[in-house]
Amino acid sequence: MRSWYRNLDFPTLLIWLSLCVCGLVAIYSSTHGEAQEFLLNTVQNSFQRQLMWLGISACALVVILMIPMHWFIRLAPLAYLATIGLLIIALIAGREVGGARSWVYLGPFGFQSSELAKVGSLLMSAFVLTSRMKANNTSNSALIVSGILGLPALLIILQNDLGTALVFAGFIPILWLCSGVPLRIVGLIIIFPVIGYIAILSWQLALGFTAVAGLTAWFATRELKWATAAALVGAITVGTASFALQSVLQPHHVARIVSFSNPEADEYRAGVGFHLVQSKAALGSGGWLGQGFLQGSQTQGRYIPEQSTDFVFSVIGEEWGFVGGGLILLLFTILMLRLTWLAKRIDHPFGSLLAAGAAGIFLIHVCVNLGMVLGLLPVIGIPLPFLSYGGSALLTNTVLLSLALGAYMRRADFVLY
């Protein structure tokens, strides 16, 4: 037998490692610099814990690479069931951390059920989509995928973690795009978040974009019904969003959603806008080249809340500047483009979907997390893959990556299968 690792995609592995190391550096800086003595005991050993989790993740990666792909196809339903079970256990017997009841403990060993749920959900979605692809009934499979992702999303909402639930929702159109779901339906569903986002900024602008969406739909399909559908979805979104912001939601919810567009305003600055003002200040303080390792004034002074977890990018931005932040963006770009390229080269639909799905999940995380850190999106607490402190997230993301790598490595096996 030839070396099993011959077909392993080393560039992806290298980028994975680079991102993890960058994350460790940032976590080290935010917990082991001058700021260390002011930290709570629970945070002081973050770096060591993350290092330990990186070790565990590396082991998981090796193990997954050893397992033949068809096992995963068989295991997918089981994994999904386990995922749902875990989410329910967390809901009933879990521990509440940071407001979300998503932590499950096995003795001293705790993990976040909503993070691990991503693996089960992706496996199940890929399994269902590929098995039904033969039946060539893609419209139905679109609905089924929504269901598969919707159920954990619902449980996670019940756990009071809206941010992670949104990731599941955002994953739906990406999976549709990667599977055979017609593009017009994918396009239609994408109108919803885009117009919704613009509606938060300005409903007039959102209406304008609705018109653009309608016209685009007409030019793309030359069918009046699609154009109408696009315009309708847009209009409904604008209406719902505006109505929700004005009449349904409580003022403090509205403030949370709207404040990102103007966090410096007096009414937001000390409250909901605080994270963003501090995050922007840290990034600005970084400039081109950054303040240097362990030298970031905002990082070392702990001005940015959650600086080793959700706002880890602002630490990198301050201490390593635009050069460092840009490098992280570049690494993510290469990672995701590489994964889609792998997806294209994997012949078997299941493996291909795994790789594309992993890229999709990373894309959503990067988009939402960096959107938040850079002040483009409301503050939604989800981590930046491989960089934020958090063992469950690191393990989950590494497992997703190794599934893609495994599928690519064994792309020849699939043909026989």
Partner: protein, 614 residues
């Protein structure tokens, strides 16, 4: 996956990343200035750096005043681990409940900031807590500086005490000049050198720019400290004071009130400046307890009062050399001058012996003999002949009745009667009052400092030096040396040197054959003059003495006042003589003369002022 979808997915990735990248560029490069200003506003603080208050040394480099650390334990409740209360209690030697109580107080103040919970702990306790600091999160240490006085010489009035600045002073200073110089809680000198040299002892505070964290605590230096300003213009002070002499003088003053001033006649350096009773300067460290303060200011013997520069009493017979110089210079003794004699029948004829008595019937006396035997009749007659305006003029020449240009504050100009004063009394009393002045009694007052200056002018042949305590200042870091104060030029008195020599000869004879004979320094010729100042009321007379030695090239001139101890040779003379001997010889060899002087000096007591005062 087909090609279209592959491209679409890549487009989505590229699109998202591009938007994020552009925004990153905007925040970090385009709007960099705006956001970094917020960052600086958040986290940059200017912190004042106070130089350590200057040390004070004596003329031989002996350390008189320096700073010692006071160890304080601070608690920061937010980070404190309550399970460690027993450990901290054990280290500090207090009960757990006390720690709990301090913790509660600190929490009320600010849970994120360290509170000074236990001040003045011992070094052992402090080190134990430092050693166990890894077990004691939220427990900090702080070192404050306190003034410490390592020698046995108290020198209370020369050195002066320090105290915390009060609100009023703070307002005055900040309205006058740089408000950053002082802040609430700073100490400043209140008396003596500490006050007179406050700007040099204190220096100009520097500024350190620090990054502070979100709790307001210092995290690290800004720009590696390159923008910091160092404290500057702070100095150690080197005094002309001799701590050995000072200590010895203080020890001789047991049970006595009074003062000693010893000067170097060649330059006006103050060798000793003692005022008794005094007080330990240590009690002013930190906030002085009210009880201490009340007893200090209400004590009948007034320990805070600087007798050396402020105590006014008549000079008694120590005034006679002055009168002799006045008489000779003004021609009151006729052409013969030094050879002119005045007959002493044991009293002055005016008043028929009832009011103007002499110690004995001296017979014919010239000026030298009159000084030697302290003949009152001779000086009554001189005073009778003098013009009151020339009296005032000569007194001022010798520094009486005016403030001396000394480099520390707190002095009184003294009282020398002038014609305006005489205008107020009835004409038939004028002559009597004048004659009284001739023997240094009556309505006049001089300070020990003035007497010492006068003695040193007699010693050096008529040069009046500005008396001063400080020789030079040294910056402890740069070793830069400056000479402060800018002393006024010494004044050469226009007194004929033959007259001066006659007076000096008389004073030498006082020590060798006259009233000061028991105060002779073995092997060292000296000159001196005893004096007895009449005290008002039913109190004992004050003992006064001036001297200088060695006679030919004087190195020390001393004036001593002892309150309510009887005549001049009783108490003041042996003290002055012992001090001069110790200064000149270093040690006083044991001898019969030594023990006589010591016995006299130590056994004399000042009459107590108030009977209620035990």
């Amino acid at each position: 996956m087909n090609k279209t979808r592959y491209i679409l997915l890549n487009c989505a990735v590229t699109c998202v990343i591009s938007i994020l990248g552009l925004q990153l560029f905007r925040l970090q490069v385009v709007e960099q200035k705006d956001h970094s200003e917020i960052a600086h506003g958040n986290a940059l603080r200017n912190i004042r750096v106070l130089p350590a208050r200057g040390s004070i040394y004596d003329r031989n480099g002996v350390l008189l005043v320096h700073n010692v650390p006071e160890y304080t334990i601070t608690l920061t409740p937010k980070f404190f681990n309550e399970e460690r209360i027993p450990l901290l209690a054990k280290h500090l030697g207090v009960a757990d409940s006390i720690i709990n109580q301090s913790l509660e107080e600190a929490r009320k103040y600010n849970p994120y900031r360290p509170s000074s919970s236990f001040s003045n702990v011992s070094f052992e306790q402090y080190s134990r807590i430092i050693e166990d600091s890894h077990l004691l999160p939220g427990v900090g240490t702080e070192i404050k500086q306190q003034r410490h006085y390592p020698t046995n010489a108290r020198s209370s009035h020369a050195l002066g005490y320090v105290g915390e600045i009060n609100k009023q002073e703070l307002n005055e200073i900040s309205s006058e000049s740089d408000s950053a110089l002082y802040r609430q809680g700073d100490i400043l000198g209140r008396t003596g050198i500490e006050r007179g040299y406050e700007p040099w002892l204190r220096g100009v505070p520097g500024m350190a720019r620090k990054w502070v964290n979100v709790y307001g605590l210092e995290v690290m230096a800004y720009a590696q400290g390159q923008a910091d300003q160092k404290p500057r213009e702070y100095y150690d002070i080197h005094l002309s004071l001799d701590s050995q002499i000072q200590e010895f003088a203080e020890s001789l003053f047991v049970n006595k009130r009074g003062a000693v001033v010893a000067l170097d006649p060649n330059n006006g350096e103050i060798i000793a400046l003692v005022s008794k009773p005094d007080y330990p300067l240590e009690i002013f460290n930190g906030a002085i307890e009210d009880e201490n303060w009340q007893s200090l200011i209400s004590h009948s013997e007034q320990p805070l009062y600087n007798r050396a520069t402020m105590n006014l009493m008549p000079p008694g017979s120590t005034w006679k050399p002055f009168m002799a110089l006045l008489g000779l210079s003004e021609g009151l003794l006729g052409k013969e001058g030094g050879n002119t004699t005045i007959f002493c029948p044991g009293y002055h004829p005016i008043g028929r012996g009832r009011f103007f008595r002499c110690l004995a019937s001296h017979g014919e006396m010239n000026v030298v003999e009159a000084i030697q035997s302290s003949c009152n009749t001779f000086f009554f007659e001189l005073a009778r002949r003098m013009d009151i305006s020339s009296f005032k003029k000569y007194a001022n020449l010798f520094g009486f009745g005016i403030e001396a240009p000394i480099d520390i504050g707190e002095q009184t100009p003294g009282l020398i009667p002038d014609s305006a004063y005489f205008g107020r009394i009835r004409s038939y009393e004028v002559e009597a009052a004048k004659m009284n002045l001739g023997v240094g009694q009556g309505d006049m007052g001089v300070t020990p400092l003035q007497l010492a200056r006068y003695a040193s002018a007699l010693a050096n042949g008529g040069v009046l030096h500005p008396p001063h305590l400080v020789k030079y200042l040294v910056n402890p870091e740069t070793n830069e040396q400056i000479v402060i104060p800018d002393l006024p030029e010494p004044v050469k008195l226009e007194i004929d040197s033959t007259y001066m020599n006659l007076v000096r000869k008389g004073m030498r004879l006082v020590m060798e054959e006259g009233t000061g004979v028991m105060a002779q320094i073995p092997d060292i010729p000296s000159a001196g003059k005893t004096g007895t100042a009449q005290a008002p009321g039913n109190f004992e007379d004050h003992s006064v003495f001036i001297m200088f030695a060695p006679f030919d090239s004087p190195k020390i001139a001393i004036a001593v006042q002892c309150e309510n101890t009887g005549d001049g040779s009783q108490c003041a003379a042996p003290i002055a003589s012992l001090l001069a001997e110790k200064f000149l010889k270093g040690e006083i060899p044991p001898s019969w003369r030594t023990s006589v002087r010591m016995d006299r000096a130590l056994s004399t007591k000042s009459q107590t002022l108030a009977l209620t005062d035990q």
